[in-house]
Symmetry: C2
Subunit: 196 residues, 2 copies
């Protein structure tokens, strides 16, 4: 599988902004169940294996899961604050929860679970996100054995990019990458230079 031509640009941006904790945060836009846009910050959990697919972890009880079940198309907007680069990545998201019938996908979910810190894993045992908070107290300290596999609420999202728009505000360059599927069912990328 050939590497997507925009992937190296993204890896470079991650490298040159790696001193900033928030450089792995981006904004994920979905279509709300009411048909209006929905937008929130999520954390980059790496590319899947050696592909150009982007991994995100989320709680299966959040509203975005319901939204993605209605419409799986999303657009990521990822702005790197130090290098002034923006990536707009759109494509389709595959939701991988514990009920997934595909064994390989379940293994990917498990791998992603163990790649999280224990503290991050504990969040998936907290109260239902987005529901009214019933108490002002902090939650009692739940504990989790480090060897325990993914809990029910843990969800792996995998974005398969269709199109990537790259903007560099320092060089004032804008490039757009579009994918297509070849006769041999291979994903091909074409690039065009656009006015910023």
């Amino acid at each position: 599988m050939a590497t997507a031509p925009w992937k190296q640009l993204l890896l470079n941006a991650l490298e040159s902004n790696s001193h900033l904790k928030h450089s792995s945060y981006f904004q994920l836009a979905t279509i709300g169940v009411n048909g209006r846009p929905s937008n929130r910050t999520v954390v980059f959990r790496g590319f899947q294996d050696n592909s150009d697919k982007i991994q995100i972890n989320t709680d299966g009880r959040t509203r975005k899961i319901e939204e993605l079940k209605h419409c799986s198309f999303v657009e990521i907007c990822w702005y790197f604050t130090d290098s002034w680069e923006q990536f707009r990545i759109n494509g389709k998201i595959d939701i991988i929860d514990g009920s997934n019938p595909d064994l390989h996908k379940l293994q990917q979910r498990e791998k992603s679970w163990f790649a999280n810190s224990l503290k991050s894993r504990l969040q998936y045992l907290g109260p239902n996100p987005g529901l009214p908070s019933l108490s002002e107290h902090t939650q009692p300290n739940t504990s989790l054995d480090p060897s325990t596999g993914p809990v029910e609420a843990f969800c792996l999202l995998v974005l398969d990019p269709d199109q990537v728009d790259y903007l560099n505000l320092k060089s004032n360059q804008r490039l757009t990458y579009r994918s297509s599927v070849s006769a041999t069912a291979e994903k091909m990328w074409s690039m065009e230079r656009l006015n910023p």
Copy 2:
């Protein structure tokens, strides 16, 4: 007009992150003409007068204008990287370009134009954004008289917020503010504490 209760939280976040140039940048999600989400970084241009309406400047030739004409509902996601606060602000956008029949709105557009630096204003005279770039050369230096009013491409967007979701990742607090219209046609806000 009463101040929206979330506005002070946002003003505080702007103040405590003001040493960061990118603290005035946020991500604006719209619905694409193809029905898929669209997401990009834009710059906060202040509240309109003393209201809770959020101003954005854009080039009328960008795709977002076409999208907003199809669906004027948007969601802003604004993450403050130093204070770890996120505001998700959704509502409707009013597009104010030079053809607007409302004289007061045209004045607001003009005010917003002159609030921009000369360098920012010059961008609206550049080649059509998003179209293929015809040359690798930088554009010839166009010049603009500082007293010249808004050019045709200059557009003021005004977001009237409906709902604001506030998340503080340091205190692990989440608050949601919903607006409603009272019997006397006044906008009222209610607040609820949610699980983060």
